[in-house]
């Protein structure tokens, strides 16, 4: 049974994010816990990046599929809101994959929520040419979790994973 659970854990951890398929739900910190309940039901706990993240339904069904492929029995996917997701949960491996995909990974220390926005001293590095000479075009990007930036050196626009 232990081997089975390890196998299932591994399969669930490798479920790809539907919108950024180069990273897994484990890389992003969306996957919070996998455990086998006393009743034999597998409990998978996930948390959304943003309240309205439209990828959650796809993630839930992809987790169920992954479990089924491993021969898991009954699976319950629970969504929790607390503690709220933070980009600090994105793994180092996840950050590297994002960068290679052309998305600048978030800075480490997320701005304290609720305070007045403080301009960040550290610039966002261009994921294509590595230049720190970049500018923000919009705080909102192609998905809820990203902002739109552009590089002044190579002139390419790119997505930045917002630090929250």
């Amino acid at each position: 049974m232990m081997t089975d659970l390890a196998l299932i854990r591994d399969a669930v951890a490798r479920v790809a994010d539907p919108e950024i398929p180069v990273v897994s739900i484990a890389d992003l910190g969306i996957l919070r816990d996998i455990s086998l309940g006393a009743d034999g039901v597998l409990q998978v706990t996930i948390t959304p990046t943003y309240s309205g993240c439209p990828a959650m339904d796809a993630i839930r069904s992809d987790i169920a599929d992954a479990c089924e492929r491993c021969g898991a029995g009954e699976v319950e996917v629970r969504t929790v809101l607390s503690p709220p997701w933070t980009t600090d949960w994105i793994t180092d491996d996840g950050r590297r994959k994002l960068r290679e995909f052309g998305i600048a990974p978030p800075g480490r220390s997320a701005a304290a929520p609720g305070r007045r926005a403080v301009p960040l001293a550290l610039s966002v590095r261009c994921p294509r040419c590595g230049s720190p000479d970049t500018r923000q075009l919009s705080e909102f990007g192609s998905t809820a979790c990203k902002a739109l930036h552009a590089c002044n050196a190579c002139l390419e626009p790119f997505d930045y994973f917002k630090a929250i």
Binding site: S51, V80, S82, P84, P113, L137, S138, E139, S142, A144
Partner: protein
């Protein structure tokens, strides 16, 4: 147990605010002055929709009548909606939309910051997440208010007009009633009256910096929390609910 109906009503109020403003902001998609603003409005609307979905689902659960988020969103008439008038107002021009965003997101941020301390796990959880999102919404509105207010003669005129248009609806955001006060006394809800000083300080500072004048206007009568709405809400619901009511409970 006696608190359940009040708690359901409270969750419904917060959920309705988020849902109606989400629908309003969606009207900007493909019509905003810049492509980046189409994207920004859609993102803000999506955050609000996410908050609304959790709050309406929770309101239905606590109510215990078997109503889902879809039942509450699509199969209630305007008299059963409990949102503030501020969020149902028509968008007006871009400056007026920004004025509403500044007023409402500043209120909503203060509210969610306080609601994080609720003894109710779900409300505290929604608030903890939403604080991060609404911080961005308020910052977006602030940046545009500064840019338009302290911009050209025309942009300043429009920004001031936008502020004047939404100002009569500000007071309603900070009204409280016995239902809210009782829940607040039990550590479940936030008494909206306590949010006013923080709001005044923040919005006042932004208006000053944007060289705009704080309006001296009368207060609109309000009544959104009791189900009394302006004519505009009916049109909004007509569009939002049309498909669901034409094809009830269809799935695709």
């Amino acid at each position: 147990m006696t608190e359940q109906p009040a708690l359901a009503s409270y969750a419904l109020r917060l959920g309705d605010d988020a849902l109606i403003l989400s629908q309003r902001l969606s009207e900007w998609i493909s019509r905003a002055p810049q492509l980046e603003e189409d994207v920004a409005m859609a993102n803000i609307a999506l955050d609000l929709l996410g908050q609304a979905r959790t709050l309406l689902t929770y309101a239905g659960e606590v109510e215990g009548m078997g109503r889902s988020e879809d039942d509450l969103a699509y199969f209630r008439d305007d008299r059963q909606y409990r949102n503030l008038h501020m969020v149902e107002l028509e968008n007006g021009d871009f400056a007026q939309t920004i004025a509403r965003q500044l007023a409402f997101s500043s209120y909503q941020l203060e509210m969610y910051l306080a609601l994080r301390r609720s003894r109710d796990e779900t409300l505290a959880g929604v608030a903890g997440k939403a604080v991060k999102e609404v911080t961005y919404h308020r910052d977006h509105a602030t940046q545009w208010t500064l840019r338009l207010g302290d911009g050209t003669e025309e942009s300043r005129r429009r920004m001031q007009a936008g502020i004047e248009r939404v100002w009569p609806y500000v007071d309603e955001m900070f009204r409280s009633d016995p239902l809210e006060q009782a829940l607040a006394a039990d550590g479940l809800a936030v008494d909206a009256r306590e949010l006013r000083p923080g709001w005044d300080e923040y919005v006042g500072a932004v208006l000053r910096q944007a060289t705009l004048t704080r309006p001296q206007t009368r207060t609109a009568p309000g009544g959104g929390r009791q189900g009394l709405h302006t004519e505009q809400l009916g049109y909004l619901l007509g569009e939002m609910q049309y498909l669901a009511r034409s094809h009830p409970y269809s799935r695709w």
